[in-house]
């Protein structure tokens, strides 16, 4: 009887090691780090868009004040916000939902979650052995740890499969939301050009046109030079604003591409994106500073 039991334990041990080896060699799946990077990129895009939208609204307001000088009376429409608070809140809500989704995926893929199951499996194995008076764990000291690893690996695989399945199911919604947001920044489809970028570009062009008209009244070469320098600076700012907005648009599309890649079983890597987002945000931060009224 004892020999029979010892034989059964040996078979069990061999099976356990084989199962563990097979699971460890399993295919690569989305890692927690890449999901966390994606979540961080969403949060960075939220910050980037908040700064950008403040800059857009300040630009629009400046243009409205300048236009008011030529108006006979004032109407509410003359001071319509560039981007209204309700729509900005909706935009932020979309990014908050994406960030919450990323955080949940990250929690699901957390090694801590799987290792907790591993520890409990190990503990349960030890309890069963004690209850059944088995000495298998004394005879094979590594078995207890292997049992724990098997439990952790099974939990981790289950988590990865759940994450993969949710990502595949949600991918079209995520892509649609991020594409829509990118179109809100700039939409050049159907042979038209529309969006926030057009508002900002038109504003800088109008500012530059002011200087072009003033140039015609310049009396001295020095005045002309000064106005030419102002004109060149405004064109540079217009290009920088365009680049920053196209950068935000690109970041939104990149987030969608990274999610699609992960949903198809590939990498979700967006680590390089965060650095580029921070760079692009700098322009509108500088602009906000420039548009602040001078302290008297």
């Amino acid at each position: 009887m004892l020999i029979k039991l010892a034989g059964r334990e040996a078979v069990l041990t061999r099976t356990l090691w084989l199962a563990l080896a097979a699971l460890v060699c399993g295919c690569a799946t989305t890692t927690q780090k890449s999901v966390t990077d994606w979540h961080d990129a969403v949060v960075a895009v939220r910050e980037q868009s908040a700064t950008t939208f403040r800059g857009v609204n300040d630009l629009v307001r400046e243009a409205q004040l300048k236009r008011a000088a030529d108006l006979a009376n004032l109407k509410e429409d003359d001071f319509h916000p560039g981007l209204d608070a309700k729509s900005i809140a909706t935009w932020n809500r979309a990014l908050d939902n994406l960030a919450a989704y990323g955080a949940s995926l990250s929690a699901l893929l957390s090694p801590g979650l799987a290792s907790g199951v591993g520890d409990s499996t190990k503990q349960l194995g030890a309890s069963i052995a004690t209850s059944s008076k088995s000495t298998v764990f004394q005879q094979q000291p590594g078995l207890s740890s292997a049992l724990g690893k098997l439990g952790a690996k099974l939990a981790s695989l289950s988590a990865a499969q759940s994450a993969q399945s949710v990502m595949a199911q949600t991918n079209s919604a995520i892509t649609e939301v991020l594409d829509q947001m990118a179109r809100m920044i700039n939409d050049d489809s159907s042979g038209m050009e529309t969006g926030i970028l057009q508002t900002v570009h038109a504003d800088w062009t109008s500012r530059a046109a002011d200087v072009r008209a003033a140039f015609l009244d310049a009396k001295t070469p020095a005045d002309k030079r000064d106005l030419a320098a102002q004109y060149a600076a405004l064109l540079e700012k217009r290009d920088a604003a365009d680049a920053a907005l196209l950068g935000l648009r690109g970041a939104l599309l990149e987030l969608a591409v990274a999610h699609s890649r992960a949903a198809a079983g590939g990498s979700m890597d967006t680590s390089a994106l965060i650095a580029s987002i921070r760079e692009q945000t700098a322009f509108f931060k500088g602009l906000l500073q420039d548009l602040k009224p001078a302290k008297t």
Partner: protein
């Protein structure tokens, strides 16, 4: 029939083209008064570009809200999967504890 967003896009695009044309016309102007008149016209077109842009942004944001519900649903599914694994751990811990109690009971019974 074009949607509200499409109509708004067409309008903003037409204004953008108009502004570009006015700006280009400044290339050949040398008379200051004429230039000032064009700049004032550009200011008006620019104001309307911002206005249509704002209305378009608001309409697109509303569409966005409808699509976001799907993501919120997915987050709930992921949270349920996390809870499943946590429940599994709690279940394994409970069995371990139960076996420990059984062993204690057996040991106690042996002493009786």
């Amino acid at each position: 029939m074009p949607t509200q967003n499409e109509s708004m896009r067409k309008l903003q695009n037409a204004l953008v083209l108009q502004l570009r044309k006015l700006n280009d016309s400044l290339d050949d102007v040398t008379d200051s008064n004429r230039a000032q008149a064009i700049v004032r016209e550009m200011q008006e077109v620019n104001h309307r570009i911002a206005l249509t842009g704002s209305l378009l942004f608001a309409a697109q944001a509303q569409e966005l809200d409808d699509k976001v519900a799907e993501i919120s649903k997915a987050t709930k599914t992921v949270n349920a999967a996390v809870a499943d694994i946590e429940n599994l751990q709690a279940f394994l811990d409970a069995i371990s504890e139960f076996l420990g109690l059984v062993d204690e009971a057996i040991d106690l019974a042996k002493t009786l």
